[in-house]
């Protein structure tokens, strides 16, 4: 009897307190309808106050890039506020430089919508849409890298610049109860508007890569938002140096194919670094491309080849290989994609060769 009474009264108390908290949340966290003015009246959205600016905007189909999903760890979701909306929070401080703070830049994921806001966002973000897609084909490229081909269902076509990325939404699975969204670069051609190809490496313990590798089958429906990113072909540069490692090959492949398709008058050298032969992929594809196009050179390199790899190509760290093949920086641009470690090492080597910062573009993951 007393056990019953104990359980009952404790549950009742907890329920009452929970109800009080929910009521307080409803009453105190309710800021009514707030108007968000984007780019001086280009669009005015009406949202329910109380959520973060990032969530409020995406509920109205305005997608601000965010790789961490609103945890203030990636610092991508920067927006500019025309009128101040209170002081910068301690969680935002590491991501905002002095001039940015003076200009009113805030992280959209940390800023709570409590009243009407006036914000500025880059014009091209209006081009960002959410796409419903079907997985048409999954191909194993290496032991831990797969290629996914998505057929766009709604909307049926996408406009993007070669080198940009999309944010794929995972669905709840196993021990990951919440959907997460992660950024993956597009590997296919911008002219193929009805499909998108992504190259995804399985990251041990990665929430989204594990989902994509182990819980997605051909025929499944997946949503992603895009295109995002500042990594695309820039003006100038008669000769382009591309350097990639791992799944960093994706945006580079899109860039190279785009340049060849548009018959731009540029010389291209593509360095791809891997550890062993089993980490290489698309080798035949790029060799064949190089055979057909005299202005394109493909240089794969292994840093840890073993005898059984029977490797007769370039060996050594990708930075050393680049240093051997690129003599000077005259008229050249460099495009890099890979891990932060690889990018930093390459930035140093390219600097030594004579590349200026403004002619190096990179996308790190």
């Amino acid at each position: 009897m007393s056990v019953f009474l104990t359980v009952l009264s404790l549950s009742a108390l907890a329920t009452i307190l929970a109800a009080v908290v929910v009521a307080a949340d409803y009453k105190l966290n309710n800021y009514g309808i707030c108007a968000i003015d984007i780019n001086n009246g280009t669009r005015v959205l009406e949202v329910n106050g109380g959520s973060s600016l990032l969530t409020s905007l995406s509920s109205q189909k305005v997608f601000i890039p965010s790789a961490c999903g609103g945890k203030a760890t990636c610092g991508l979701c920067k927006v500019t506020l025309v009128e101040s909306a209170g002081p910068v929070l301690p969680t935002e401080e590491p991501f905002l430089s002095g001039p940015e703070r003076d200009a009113g830049v805030r992280l959209a994921c940390q800023l709570k919508v409590k009243h009407d806001l006036k914000i500025l966002i880059p014009e091209e973000l209006f081009n960002i849409k959410q796409y419903r897609t079907r997985v048409r084909r999954i191909t194993d490229l290496t032991h831990d890298i797969k290629e996914f081909e998505f057929e766009l269902l709604e909307p049926g076509s996408i406009d993007f610049k070669a080198g940009q990325y999309v944010q794929v939404d995972s669905k709840p699975y196993d021990k990951v109860p919440e959907p997460v969204s992660r950024a993956y670069s597009i590997a296919s051609l911008p002219s193929e508007k009805n499909k998108v190809e992504l190259i995804i490496r399985l990251v041990p313990g990665g929430a989204c890569t594990t989902f994509m590798h182990n819980h997605v089958q051909e025929g499944d429906e997946i949503t992603f938002a895009g295109p995002f990113g500042e990594f695309y072909l820039r003006e100038g540069g008669d000769e382009l140096i591309f350097i990639a490692g791992g799944s960093g090959l994706a945006p580079i492949r899109s860039l190279i194919l785009d340049i060849l398709e548009k018959k731009l008058d540029k010389k291209m050298k593509f360095f791809f670094g891997a550890v062993r032969k089993r980490d290489l992929y698309y080798v035949d594809f790029f060799r064949e491309l190089a055979a057909r196009h005299p202005n394109f050179t493909y240089i794969p390199a292994l840093s840890g080849a073993v005898p059984e790899d029977a490797w007769d190509g370039e060996e050594g760290l990708i930075t050393d290989v680049v240093a051997r093949h690129v003599e000077d920086a005259v008229g050249k641009q460099a495009y890099l994609c890979g891990s932060p470690g690889m990018i930093n090492a390459c930035l140093q080597v390219l600097g030594k060769i004579g590349f200026e910062k403004k002619s190096i573009f990179y996308d790190e993951f």
């Binding site: 108390l13 908290v21 209170g86 929070l89």
Partner: protein
């Protein structure tokens, strides 16, 4: 409630702030005391937030204890009940602060979630029951303990800031020297007890 001991609430207030200081004499709330005392500004912010939450939770816990827990004969469940009341109170205070006092929320709000699990807060509610305090006594006990905790962490942070540039023997840096300082401070606070003999 009936046989309230005849200690003046004012004496309880002074005693809980100084002679029986929560952290320096009872050693409750040590984790945040040691870890958040590097900078005076943050430490003082946390101290104020603790004081605020202590007063509110003492009020709510006193009411719930005497009007719900005792009539139902559930005294043995007071640990659980106090904890959930504290958790709910902290949540509501944070929301209210965010709404009505945004400046204060900027300064204290980020500490509030840390406070839910601060054992000094639970300690106040349990002492209040064990010592059989009345309502006014409990409120002043909560306020005094809170202010005492604030005083202690502010003093510690001020000392640590002064010491920031000093060279210490290897291994004494960080928490180790902080524990030594805390010990010396505790001796000083125990010294306050002489004052009340005279009073």
């Amino acid at each position: 409630m009936g046989n309230t001991p005849a200690i003046s609430p004012f004496v309880i207030f002074l005693a809980s702030m100084l002679t029986s200081n929560m952290v320096l004499v009872n050693f409750l709330g040590m984790c945040s005391f040691i870890s958040v005392s590097k900078e005076f500004k943050t430490a003082s912010g946390l101290g104020k937030a603790v004081a605020l939450v202590m007063v509110f939770t003492t009020v709510f816990n006193w009411i719930i204890y005497h009007f719900v827990v005792v009539p139902l004969g559930l005294e043995y469940l007071r640990y659980l009940i106090f904890i959930i009341v504290i958790a709910a109170t902290v949540q509501i205070i944070e929301m209210a602060m965010d709404r009505y006092l945004p400046d204060l929320h900027m300064k204290l709000g980020i500490f509030l979630p840390l406070i839910t699990v601060n054992c000094a807060i639970l300690g106040i509610s349990l002492f209040m029951v064990i010592r059989n305090y009345g309502f006014l006594q409990s409120v002043l006990f909560g306020l005094g303990s809170g202010l005492g905790w604030w005083l202690a962490i502010s003093a510690l942070a001020a000392i640590r800031e002064q010491m920031a540039g000093n060279e210490l023997p290897r291994g004494l840096d960080g928490p180790a020297i902080t524990f030594i300082i805390t010990g010396i401070m505790a001796l000083a606070f125990v010294g306050f007890s002489g004052i009340f003999v005279v009073m």
